[in-house]
């Protein structure tokens, strides 16, 4: 080395100059590939399928794809649409490219507003607004959406590239699923919990294919009811004036999209049993959904109004199983084709 500070290279020459590094690294690569392949096969044999770890960069990637195409269809909402409307089927059966922009457990209205404010978005929107997000005064609960939107706007070029690569790998390899990392496996082992495949893995297009036969449905259903009750009872529902103000914001967003030639439809996804009862008790349809349907200049579809949608049994009380989601998607496509949406 030429300076007063020493360097690794000089010492490395002294210690490793005679090593056969090419053989060492060849051996390292071969053993590495062997172990990784075995690990991948192990999880596949145990019933695991590739699953994307959802986060804002993944969402941002899909969001960007929705821009600058007239045949672009944005799917906005929360978990019900994430599990209930399959973008792959929409793309197959219509001329539209569907982009899943729903965010689990979050307020979809800011996403709808963001799409409407972005002049590069010239496509259509299917929007599912769950009762809680329609009528609840839940500013703090909307933070996730706000955070994702903020980060989406500031995403760096390297982050965009990285997301593409990560998505590709997660879409192909099971061991890249967040539930089988060494850390997660260690935690589960410590808690004596079995390692099971996810019942609703996320595909590379952000659609979740739910298979409720893989889990203890009874306890999931109880937990869902408990959560729904908890969320709905905690949330202060908007009064009439405040709600009309919210509808106005929604309508303005709809108008902006329509002015660019886009179309919007609002869909109330099915919920069943006690979940539906809680929703009806806390957010009565006639006070909220029906007002929205009357005030906005976009068509609305409430599952209870249509025989073909009414008989869907949401397995956990709130979401569709994938076998139902396929059928539900086709039903919606047919209905929207009749309404000249596609």
């Amino acid at each position: 080395m030429l300076s007063s500070t020493s360097n690794s290279s000089g010492r490395a020459k002294h210690y490793f100059g005679r090593w056969r590094w090419s053989y060492i690294w060849l051996l390292i690569v071969l053993i590495y590939i062997l172990i990784i392949a075995s690990w991948e096969l192990h999880w596949r044999f145990r019933g695991f399928t590739p699953s994307v770890t959802d986060d804002w960069p993944v969402w941002s990637q899909i969001r960007r794809q929705a821009n600058n195409h007239e045949d672009s269809l944005a799917l906005v909402g929360a978990s019900r649409i994430l599990l209930g409307l399959d973008p792959a089927i929409i793309e197959k059966e219509t001329d539209y490219s569907a982009h899943m922009l729903a965010i689990d457990g979050s307020n979809p209205i800011p996403v709808l507003v963001e799409l409407s404010n972005d002049s590069d978005f010239i496509g259509n929107v299917i929007c599912s607004i769950p009762s809680l997000w329609l009528a609840g005064d839940l500013k703090s609960k909307g933070d996730r959406t706000a955070k994702w939107l903020r980060k989406y706007r500031k995403q760096s070029l390297s982050s965009k590239l990285e997301t593409r690569l990560i998505l590709t790998l997660q879409g192909l390899l099971v061991f890249r699923y967040g539930g089988v990392t060494p850390k997660k496996l260690w935690e589960k082992w410590q808690q004596d919990r079995p390692v099971k495949p996810p019942y609703a893995p996320m595909r590379i297009d952000r659609f979740r294919t739910a298979d409720y036969s893989m889990i203890d449905l009874e306890s999931l259903r109880d937990a869902r009811i408990e959560r729904t009750r908890d969320l709905h009872l905690k949330a202060a529902m908007l009064g009439k004036e405040e709600f009309l103000q919210r509808v106005k914001i929604i309508q303005q967003a709809v108008e902006r999209i329509q002015q660019r030639g886009g179309k919007v439809v609002f869909i109330r996804f099915p919920s069943c049993g006690e979940v539906l009862t809680i929703e009806e008790e806390t957010v009565p349809r006639h006070l909220y959904w029906d007002v929205l349907a009357k005030e906005v200049s976009a068509p609305t579809i409430h599952f209870e109004d249509h025989e073909n949608l009414r008989d869907f049994s949401c397995t956990d009380g709130s979401h569709l199983d994938y076998s139902d989601a396929r059928r539900f998607t086709r039903e919606i496509i047919t209905m929207l084709q009749h309404r000249d949406f596609f």
Binding site: S8, A12, Y32
Partner: protein, 471 residues
């Protein structure tokens, strides 16, 4: 792009593929130079302009300083280089901070001045490449270096991607001569370089981000809720995190450069085995501490002008060193504490340095531990967002608080690896990573690399930027 990303993996492979082609040395250097712009532009393309400004100004002033026939002309061009480089650094890094400080000052005098938020984005690595580029003009001014004949070599030196954004801060006298003769990595450079890259990534992704960072974040986010053991765990966790993070980055940088046949200086040398702070600063962030020593401390007079002036020079150097790390008074406090440590140590060594008792192994081990503890106490200011948080945490550390923020497993998650780190560094204190690696049996070495590679591949946690990127 950051080293712990798939994008970098592809970039690295692509750059190597072209570098391996039978092209002339000039073309291969230009390829590395332009690829470095791609590497930097992946964050924010417009900021490449700042790199160009820094490169052009020091290329120009370097030439002019060498051509100048009078001292005043030399000084003028050096001042120009300093003004442009430090001006850029000042605007982007300290603009918001200075405005905030000024506003606070006015408010204390009763003036309610509320300026608009400056909204300045900090270009990644600006502190590193401005210092690196400045060293060229400073060395020419001091007569240590002649202006380099080729602009492309100089621009490549400023931009070379492994060390561009977080060091090591390489001196022109060390790097530019390497551009003369064609370089290809020898087998040991390629093999050891790749090994350093894997070890560095393991340090960053697994040890810093997965083991240490969550504990540190928990404690520093809620110092009031922490118990005494939690507070110590959080601070020790940060000591582990910042070391693994930054030394991990440095190893990656050194390793990546080595795979292209280039040599970068060491940046860390088992710092937690340091006995005293003057020893610590010869082991911790060596490229920065030697830069500050050579271009600031010595320029201020060093230790040549009496004890009082030496103390003032030490304090000035460390305070500015603190400010270099971040635009906040907490960083200045961190630097100030290190200045005090160094001054007190200097005084104690002058009166007790020859006492045989302090040369006993046991006493040296205790002094090493004391150095580490004092280093950790200073880190409280380095990591805290505000002075209030720092003082709360220090209070909790020294006055027993019963409440519990961390579980026993979380405490162990920090203490065990940190214990291994301290003992390991103490044992390797006078050795080197290469010497230690050479002592390990060959098959075990291979297993260690495979283990690190597998852990990295199976880990899917969100990528955290390197801590020093913000500086």
């Amino acid at each position: 792009m950051i080293f712990n990303s798939l994008t970098f993996l592809f970039f690295f492979a692509a750059v190597h593929c072209v570098y391996a082609l039978p092209l002339s040395w000039e073309k291969r250097k230009i390829h590395l130079w332009l690829s470095s712009y791609v590497f930097y532009a992946a964050w924010n393309p417009p900021f490449v302009i700042l790199l160009w400004v820094s490169t052009l100004i020091d290329w120009f002033t370097g030439k002019k300083i060498a051509q100048a026939t009078t001292k005043s002309r030399k000084r003028f061009f050096l001042a120009l280089s300093l003004a442009v480089n430090l001006g850029m650094l000042g605007y982007f890094k300290y603009g918001g901070f200075l405005l905030e400080t000024f506003t606070s000052f006015l408010q204390t005098t009763g003036l309610d001045y509320q300026p608009a938020a400056p909204n300045i984005i900090l270009p990644v690595g600006i502190s590193f490449y401005t210092f690196q580029s400045l060293s060229y003009s400073l060395d020419i001014y001091r007569g240590r270096l002649q202006p380099w004949p080729k602009f492309t070599d100089f621009a490549f030196y400023v931009t070379f991607f492994p060390q561009l954004v977080a060091g090591p801060i390489v001196r022109a006298v060390d790097f530019l001569p390497q551009c003369r003769k064609p370089r290809r990595a020898t087998p040991y450079q390629m093999g050891w370089g790749l090994s350093l890259l894997v070890i560095g990534l393991f340090e960053k992704v697994i040890l810093a981000d997965t083991l240490m960072a969550p504990i540190t974040d928990t404690v520093f986010a809620d110092p009031e809720g922490a118990g005494t053991l939690d507070a110590w765990s959080g601070v020790f966790g940060f000591a582990g995190q910042v070391f693994f993070d930054f030394s991990g980055y440095s190893l990656c940088a050194i390793g990546v450069a080595m795979t292209f046949g280039f040599v970068l200086p060491d940046n860390f040398r088992f710092p937690y085995a340091a006995i005293g702070f003057s020893d610590l600063w010869q082991r911790w962030h060596i490229s920065l501490s030697s830069w500050l020593r050579d271009y600031l401390y010595i320029s201020l007079g060093g230790n040549r002008k009496g004890d009082l002036r030496t103390f003032a020079n030490l304090m000035m150097t460390m305070l500015l060193g603190g400010l270099w790390h971040g635009a906040a008074w907490t960083y200045v406090a961190w630097g100030g504490l290190h200045g005090i440590y160094l001054a007190v140590e200097r005084f104690l060594v002058s009166i007790l340095g020859d006492v045989a008792f302090f040369k006993k192994k046991f006493v040296r081990a205790l002094l090493g531990l004391l150095t580490f503890i004092l280093f950790c106490l200073a880190l409280v200011f380095f990591r805290s967002q505000e002075f209030g948080d720092a003082f709360t945490l220090l209070w909790v550390m020294f006055w027993h608080q019963k409440q519990q923020l961390l579980s026993q497993a979380e405490t162990l998650q920090v203490m065990l690896p940190l214990g291994v780190l301290l003992i390991g560094q103490a044992l390797m204190r006078d050795s080197s990573l290469e010497k230690v690696a050479a002592r390990i049996p060959g098959s075990l070495r291979i297993l260690i690399i495979i283990g690190a590679l597998l852990t990295l591949s199976l880990h899917t946690g969100g990528e955290r930027a390197f801590i020093y990127f913000q500086f």
